[in-house]
């Protein structure tokens, strides 16, 4: 949210990529932050984009 001050919240089912909340330039940082928070390495070569599209998908994929 700090990167998008125009927003007050991010619904858990909002598509972060289609809405460009995460764009190509911030995608690496996005993955990096998820890795740090989940304490897991993410293999970008085999990455399934659907795992990152929404907050609920991220939670399901990396924090369960």
């Amino acid at each position: 949210l700090s990167k998008h001050p125009e927003r007050t919240d991010i619904p858990s089912d909002l598509d972060l990529i289609d809405t460009r909340l995460v764009d190509s330039l911030s995608f690496i940082e996005f993955i990096f932050v998820i890795e740090q928070a989940s304490n897991r390495d993410i293999d970008t070569e085999s990455l399934d984009l659907s795992q990152l599209r929404t907050l609920e998908a991220i939670e399901r994929s990396f924090f369960d």
């Binding site: 990529i17 190509s24 330039l25 911030s26 995608f27 690496i28 940082e29 993955i31 990096f32 970008t44 070569e45 990455l47 984009l49 990152l52």
Partner: protein, 169 residues
Amino acid sequence: MTVPRVGVDLVPLARARQLVEPSYRAILERMLRPEEIDECTRCGVLDASAVAGRLAVKEAVFKLLRTREPMVLWHGIVVRGTPGTWPEVHLSDRAAELARHARLIGPVAVSVAHDGDYAIGVATAFAVHHDQVPITTSDTDHLREEHRHVPVDHYSTRGRQEMDFVQTP
């Protein structure tokens, strides 16, 4: 028959300024190879403008690949060049594979410009036009043959003559 392809991208310097901060070093290193970071360093300081230009060129080249890959192949698209020289692009690994899949032939030519708060990268290449020309026609066979056997380094931009293709008005 070949068709030209163009990719373009714009990077705000504000984004690059963040990336050159020490706390972002690990992220920058996922986007630029060590030799690229060295070339963006001026008098021991990472230059945000140079970083922005390099990222813009990488994204422009990525657009030539017309892929649905989720992420720019930052390390597979290598942009080399020091101040006063023409930037050159080398594709490797997955990026080179995608270039073959996209039927790009010959070199990828690039150019970069900086002004104010932005850097712009432009990339051009030729591709075999597979929609309109049957791939078995004789005039494309040599292109396909060349394309099939083209080494990864062939996608590099080499020499002034190729760069003049981009730079000459």
